[in-house]
Symmetry: C2
Subunit: 448 residues, 2 copies
Amino acid sequence: MAVESPRELDSLWSASGHEEAFTDLDHLFYPRNIAVVGASPKGGGFMWGGNSFIEGSIKLNFKGKIFPVNPKADNILGIKAYKSVRDIPDEVDLAIFSVKDCVAKGVKFVHLFTAGFSETGREEYAEIEKELVALAREGGIRLIGPNCMGIYCPEGGLAWTNEFPRRPGSIGFVSQSGQLAGHFVIEGSAYGFRYSTYGFRYSKVVSYGNASDLQSHDFLKYLAQDENTKIIGAYIEGLKDGRAFFEEAKSITREKPIVAWKGGETEGGSRATQSHTGSLAGSYKIWRALCRQSGIIPVISMEELLTTLAALQKLPLPQGTNVAILGGAGGGSVTMTDAAEREGLKVPHLSEKTIRALEEFVPLQGSSVKNPLDMMGAFFRGGQDALIKTFTLLKDDPNIDALIFLQMAEMYVRRGGRAFLDAFIKHLLECIKVLEKPTFIVLEGGRG
Amino acid sequence: MAVESPRELDSLWSASGHEEAFTDLDHLFYPRNIAVVGASPKGGGFMWGGNSFIEGSIKLNFKGKIFPVNPKADNILGIKAYKSVRDIPDEVDLAIFSVKDCVAKGVKFVHLFTAGFSETGREEYAEIEKELVALAREGGIRLIGPNCMGIYCPEGGLAWTNEFPRRPGSIGFVSQSGQLAGHFVIEGSAYGFRYSTYGFRYSKVVSYGNASDLQSHDFLKYLAQDENTKIIGAYIEGLKDGRAFFEEAKSITREKPIVAWKGGETEGGSRATQSHTGSLAGSYKIWRALCRQSGIIPVISMEELLTTLAALQKLPLPQGTNVAILGGAGGGSVTMTDAAEREGLKVPHLSEKTIRALEEFVPLQGSSVKNPLDMMGAFFRGGQDALIKTFTLLKDDPNIDALIFLQMAEMYVRRGGRAFLDAFIKHLLECIKVLEKPTFIVLEGGRG
């Protein structure tokens, strides 16, 4: 951000090809400047919002101008403030708040942060929301919200809190809830494991609340043509135009995966979406049918959303649902098998050829060459050699599409200390490349 | 443990009332001495077992004698070793290994640690297991195992690893898997939260593997009459005598809750239990019907097992399945409502009286006085007063049996720093006593 002498944005835009492909929502994700109505010289309110939009964009080096708007302040966070949107000397691409002033000013997008509209369930408030949308549309403005956190676009320098990472990435996220979008960005950016530091990075994230004007399918459409977005996540409470959503999703999933979490799948949850974003959640069955027919991957928790996105980003797609489990002592393998089959995977017999070849180097006692395979003893004794032999056999086994590698880290530490475990994992990560099938590594009880 | 001059155990036994109520398995959980066959002067094998039994019991100050048995060693871990079980000069209550020698010696219980019996699926090995059991029973010995970790009894001074805590408690656990029992003890003993350090402690834990002689219902029966055991957990793969198990469980759950995790609920999982403990897992539907009719609480993961036991230990039982959710910003409340209703709870409307009273101090904008309730704003503004008013209303609301209190810790930190959050939680824990209904506190995203 350069408040005193804003840099021309042309270079940024040509560099990322936006000059040619300037689509509807570009001024939303890459505004040349933003007006933040409701910023305060005394600091923000009790939640994200107001000043936190300014702080977030400062952290992300927003290249355009920021215009804090407050009738009672001259200066907010060191930036010159204006009494009203109308007083701003430059053009405004994105304003947060006050529709009437924005129409007068010719603003392109308004992000209506504030709550208290249709989600209250009171007719008079729902009516105001409708009027606002009508007012905005007449003035040529598109609305985000109300009752939402708006835009996080690292490349465009926008963020609704300075807790979000600066570096952009390839995950797009479309969410009615600002809370869950924020959690998703923050938890996702720290996602990872001891042996595989990870951390999602994002192309565009939008929290759009009541969706009174711009809808989920508008944002999906934008992410579909956005070259920086490779995988799309979504948290959706209601669809005001189910047909448009379905058609959009169906055409996108041929090119980019969509992983969607639906709020309001249960009766009580459905009532809750009405209070939250004024959404009619619709039936669970219809949503699941929509997912099946449009190719959307449905999830039901933040954990499942993050894990699914990580798998899509890091692993090849499996050719089928048959999985081999390379376990250790039996209880963990039994319950992992249950967990896999509950989710619709199969843990079938290995091919005869694989079983016979495994029997040559897997000791019978305390081990099993069935599936799940009890392989800890073999790995202890055979080291890297046993790993490569096993992965080569599984690679060529037509009964197996994917692998879950489940070992008790603690036992490796007991065997040879922390160094033994680290060496084993290092070998494993090398040997696993032989397999060429998606592999999930689970290390239990790693206290070492 | 006192190897040179073992203390008489009479005092311990009379103190805990064992002299009068000396039942079948007392010599198993409170042996006067143990023989550990397979201990090694060079240290343990690749897993728990061998020396780790000795190390575990040393840590727990086992009061009796320990006799390491190894034909090639004079001394193991500083303790005099014997060539064979027969050479041990004293009586032996519990031996780990070598049935024949134990019969000759008149041992009471044999814990058969080693694997390689019926779980291999080979008839000749299953035959050996049967012969061992027959041999033991003829000699008056009861068998634990084979293919298991045996006994953890803090009060008796027995543990199969020195990772287990010394202090005893009131949770009993019966598990065919030694791995899951071990995880359960270790993870459970560290279980807790920032504001509520917890940590389960255990009365008796038994890992009994293939259950070739002593069965799950034998151990349940023992825990039922054990005064130190208040709550019973279980991990079960197969029931060799389903009727006996059902009758035992049904009579126990009237007095003590049983929370059970069944391995092999799926087709693949069922095949896996055969390789693990030679168990026939039986059908999912029959298991669930058995739970319903006997009062067992079924769970399907370690996490659910731990959480359920914590709830049983800490909270009053709810009078019904209706739950109020006190949330914050909407997405979290919506998805928590979905999660609750998926598990069979209901998130119903509050009573008219409660709604009207709440409306007096809960601001409409950005809040909701429906259920789930969006209360963050009210708690920010009204502090302790708003908390007490809310809990008093929920206490008297006949529509509500339990409470899920779900707030974003991060927002409290943003509002007033770490100290504000800490003060709020302190108030909360005081105010919540008013409610007199089971309450689950969920603090999301607490990075402060």
